[in-house]
């Protein structure tokens, strides 16, 4: 998959993260290779404690690997200085977290705007971009609300708007529906489907099969390693008849 290495937005080679020493050594991430192509949605599923969140942190430069390499747009980021890494996190990579991580004292608009400002936009451009995104995500009338006045689904949509405000090469999402009820999950699901259609590259770590099923490819992770890769495209609604009791 993605043989044309030049097309990979995000790449990992032999990625490792270890904690402890000797007998107590834990390999949280164990020799992971990954290629994510431009515009692709990739899901990583696995039981809790399998290392999938740690992997996501390594991919986004939030944490340093014990070994191996991470490349964003063909540039190694695992060996960058703190300062250079911080710049990558502001400009090239964005995060969506399970618990939203919005600034509680800032309005929805200001939360989104802040990330555009940090990515180096002028105040005017940042404001315009933030308004545009909130409008796209159906939150125009909530722009001046504080996060505490928003529902869980709305907060997660603001977090997604914030993640998009710097036009990142890749959005990394860690259990984006983990704290949401099923109606709000559906909102986020539609949103991810739209992002996918708009060509945004996405990597989602999740327990939620519905979110995983928006992906083109899915990896199963166990004990720090990928044990299965699945291409999810190609299913048709016609095959669903049996599930509805329509055959025979």
């Amino acid at each position: 998959m993605n043989e044309a290495a030049g097309m990979s937005v995000l790449r990992a080679r032999g990625l490792r993260k270890e904690y402890g020493k000797g007998e107590g050594l834990v390999r949280a991430v164990d020799e992971v290779d990954l290629d994510v192509g431009a515009g692709e949605t990739v899901a990583i599923m696995g039981p809790s404690g399998c290392g999938k969140s740690t992997l996501l942190h390594l991919l986004g430069g939030l944490d340093r690997p014990s070994g191996g390499a991470v490349l964003v747009n063909n540039r190694r980021i695992d060996n960058l200085s703190e300062k250079a890494l911080a710049r990558i996190r502001r400009t090239d990579v964005s995060y969506v977290f399970q618990s939203f991580h919005l600034m509680e004292e800032l309005t929805a608009l200001e939360n989104v705007e802040l990330s555009a400002l940090l990515a180096g936009r002028s105040p005017r451009a940042a404001r315009r971009r933030a308004e545009e995104l909130l409008d796209q995500l159906g939150l125009a009338d909530r722009a001046r609300f504080l996060p505490s006045a928003l529902s869980g689904g709305q907060r997660q949509r603001v977090a997604v708007a914030r993640a998009l405000s710097n036009e990142p090469s890749v959005v990394l999402a860690d259990e984006p529906t983990g704290n949401l009820d099923s109606a709000a999950t559906l909102d986020v699901l539609r949103l991810f489907e739209e992002l996918h259609q708009s060509g945004q590259t996405l990597v989602v770590v999740t327990h939620d099969a519905r979110i995983a099923a928006t992906a083109d490819r899915m990896f199963s992770m166990r004990d720090g390693a990928f044990v299965d890769e699945t291409t999810l495209t190609g299913g048709t609604a016609g095959q669903l008849g049996a599930l509805a009791g329509l055959e025979g």
């Binding site: 099969a209 016609g238 669903l240």
Partner: protein, 176 residues
Amino acid sequence: MQQEVVLAMLAKEPSHGYQLRARLRDALGPLGDAMNDGQVYVTLTRLEKAGLLAVERSNAGGADRSDRKVYALTSDGQQRVAEWIAEVSWPRPDLAEFHLKLIAAAAAGLADPLTIVDTQRRELLRRLRAAQRAAMAEPERSDAALLLEGIVLRLQADLRWLEACEKNWTHRRSGS
């Protein structure tokens, strides 16, 4: 297609075969693709022979011979539909077969149960993706969207069970 379903879909008013098919298609949306028209006509003929449907001739309709017929419920047919509506039935998923497959595979060393779980999950996720996309493509509150939601929820339940299988078999393996 189940006889009672066809009968019940005709209960609204006497209808041509093509009208019945259109009604089924509206209700099933993309799942209607799996519907076999020939089978619908076979069912209609059976219902007619069983005295549950009466056939009136009509000049309207398509070129197909059976499309010139208008089907109407007899009083026996109405009785059958009423009984069927009152009946409690629910499709039974075949969990035991999969469960026993894992146990047999592990016991005889035929395959790694976790590999079987992975393969199954792959299939279910592909279907979940297809169902979800089909549901999102439907207009809100359409009949077909509601059916697709049911499929999505069932697949989710199956996937959750697979997760439990995975956890259990991982535990057994590391325990032995």
